[in-house]
């Protein structure tokens, strides 16, 4: 993650995210990365921090999103991944847990639910006929209920679960998850599913970068104007 620091799947995502938006990707930069990420997928179907580790929502998102950027999602067993992530939505709370047998947490509204748009896209590219054209493969309304009813701090901001205190991290990811749950697809296929009053509707977020889709487009277009920097020490 930084010089002399920890090595795990998050750094692959950070690097891929930054490099792709700023147009500095070269084949050498990510040589072997996709294969390494694929090794982080384990028997549970999810992805761990490093190969051999327990499947975890945060790491799984980072791994899958990085592979989407690198266009190598097919290296994963998408079926077992889908099985794992859909099993993480809690039938009582409606929110998601980070790992099997753990408690629900608002931030996984993004890390876990955010996987379904990515999976949808990957499976669609394979021509899977069973895919819905209106909904993600998780209970979008139930997740919205959990976030809106349980994760809001009366003084403003959002949180992990009732009883916890608010912080920026949970505010960010609860809102991101809410946006994912409210918006299916884009363009012609866009389908809004909003719980409660229309004013609850948030702007859509880009499922790979988690910033507004327009911002992704603008960033990419801006940096395409510049050539990919070379590594020569001239």
């Amino acid at each position: 993650m930084h010089v002399g620091g920890e090595v795990d799947v998050r750094s692959a995502y950070c690097a891929a995210s930054v490099a792709s938006l700023t147009n500095i990707m070269t084949p050498a930069l990510f040589a072997g990365t996709a294969e390494w990420i694929a090794r982080c997928q384990n028997w549970e179907g999810g992805i761990g921090g490093v190969p051999g580790m327990e499947a975890h929502g945060g790491y799984t998102f980072c791994g899958v999103a990085a592979l989407v950027i690198l266009k190598q999602e097919h290296l994963l067993n998408l079926r077992s991944l889908l099985h794992w992530v859909t099993g993480r939505q809690m039938r009582f709370e409606g929110g998601f847990q980070g790992r099997c047998n753990k408690l629900v947490d608002g931030c996984y509204s993004f890390w876990q639910a955010g996987l379904l748009p990515l999976l949808h896209r990957a499976l669609h590219a394979r021509g899977d006929p069973a895919l819905s054209m209106a909904h993600w493969m998780f209970d979008q309304l139930a997740l919205q209920e959990y976030i809106l009813l349980c994760c809001q701090c009366p003084a403003g901001g959002l949180l992990d679960k009732p009883g916890k205190s608010r912080d920026f991290y949970h505010t960010c990811y609860c809102l991101s998850g809410l946006a994912i749950a409210q918006h299916f697809g884009s363009g012609d296929l866009h389908n809004e599913v909003v719980l409660g009053i229309p004013e609850n509707c948030l702007q859509a977020t880009h499922p790979v970068y988690n910033i507004a889709p327009e911002k992704v487009a603008r960033a990419v277009m801006h940096f395409l104007q510049y050539p990919v920097p070379s590594l020569d020490l001239a």
Partner: protein, 379 residues
């Protein structure tokens, strides 16, 4: 051997806030808001080169800081510098980390620093000419072994202090991979020493995942060694004049020892443990997941490899992925001995659970498991 914060909002008496009882260190909470900013500031001034601190002061300050907030990366990095310059014994940091973990069992930075320290120690180990600063005497292999055992203890303690402690268990796996090199002995030792722990922490998915890791590593170990054995045999058959006597004899000896790991019975034991825990503690999803995967493994294990040795190496590799093939050869191999935990046994177990359980979650898990059995064994 343990630190903690004593809730004490006001300084009532004019005395030190440090309390030491039976080797346990306590700090009264009122002083933290004075102490922490003070030491924090001192360290930052040093880093900004505005105020000099000598080595001993640095050691003391970082120690205090890290016991109050072990996720303060800069403090750990100062200690890294001290270790690299030879002023600080790396073992001290292992002890400091262990202490910090008694209060902050998840602290990511503590675990990360710990791995850095261990890497330094391994490198040191491979250069016997270096003065070992107090580690003199023990042979390298024994030193590593002691380090590994200590790490297992630290992980175990931390795992007990926080449920499903991802960082503690990943560290444990890291130590086995990088210090203990995943030998069969250490894998088996860990399987037996964690058996009791997981039985007392039946919802700890990380704990059970660790056992899956151990079992998978054992399977992988056996497959690799068998591959080497088969390859050596093939080489020997094709080029008798090029036979490397020593090499093949050694590999065969190792394989003989490792083939004495009765994988099928290990996997059976795991299934038995699962069934027992599922019966005793209804409604824990972790146990059912573990059961699924253990059954999966016992059908994919290289028990079939004995049969496959007669075949070419490619056949051996394929057997672990073609479930039908492995099941068949497994049945062939075990024909004279009755399967202690075959599929019929699993059906009976699940049906028994379904008919006797009263826990809603347990019933749901059992039903799902039954459906999975039908799909899985139906192939």
């Amino acid at each position: 051997d343990e630190i903690g914060l004593i809730p004490c909002p006001e300084a009532r008496y004019n005395r030190s806030p440090i309390v030491l009882v039976e080797n346990k260190l306590g700090v009264e909470s009122w002083c933290v808001k004075f102490l922490l900013p003070y030491v924090h500031n001192k360290l930052l001034l040093y880093r900004q080169r505005k105020q000099w601190l000598n080595k001993d002061e640095l050691i003391d300050i970082t120690c205090t800081l890290l016991l109050l907030n072990p996720d303060f990366t800069t403090a750990w990095n100062v200690r890294k510098e001290l270790i690299l310059s030879g002023t600080l014994n790396p073992l001290k940091d292992l002890h400091l980390g262990k202490l910090a973990l008694t209060k902050f069992p998840k602290s990511p930075e503590t675990w990360i620093h710990r791995r850095w320290v261990l890497q330094q120690l391994i490198q040191e180990n491979s250069l016997p000419s270096l003065a070992t600063k107090g580690n003199l005497g023990a042979a390298p292999v024994e030193r590593i072994h002691r380090l590994v055992q200590e790490e297992m203890n630290v992980c175990s303690e931390a795992a007990g202090r926080y449920p499903s402690n991802y960082n503690a268990w990943s560290h444990r796996i890291w130590v086995l991979q990088h210090l203990a090199k995943l030998t069969v002995k250490v894998l088996l030792d860990e399987l037996s020493s964690t058996k009791c722990w997981v039985s007392m922490h039946v919802s700890d998915h990380s704990g059970f995942h660790y056992r899956q890791f151990l079992l998978n590593s054992l399977i992988h170990r056996t497959v690799t060694d068998n591959n080497t054995l088969v390859q050596n045999q093939m080489v020997n058959e094709q080029n008798p004049s090029l036979r490397k006597e020593e090499e093949s004899a050694e590999t065969e000896a190792t394989c003989a020892e490792e083939q004495s790991v009765d994988l099928p019975s290990r996997l059976d034991e795991e299934m038995e443990l699962c069934s027992e825990l599922i019966d005793n503690y209804p409604g824990h999803e972790t146990l059912w997941c573990h059961s699924d995967e253990s059954l999966n493994n016992s059908h994919r294990s290289p028990a079939a490899s004995h049969m496959a040795q007669a075949m070419d190496v490619d056949g051996l590799n394929e057997s672990s992925s073609k479930q039908g093939y492995t099941q068949e050869t497994k049945r062939l191999k075990r024909a004279p001995v009755q399967d202690s935990l075959g599929p019929e046994m699993e059906y009976r177990f699940v049906d028994k659970v379904l008919s006797t359980c009263r826990d809603v979650d347990q019933a749901r898990f059992a039903t799902a498991y039954r459906k999975w059995l039908v799909t899985f064994l139906g192939q």
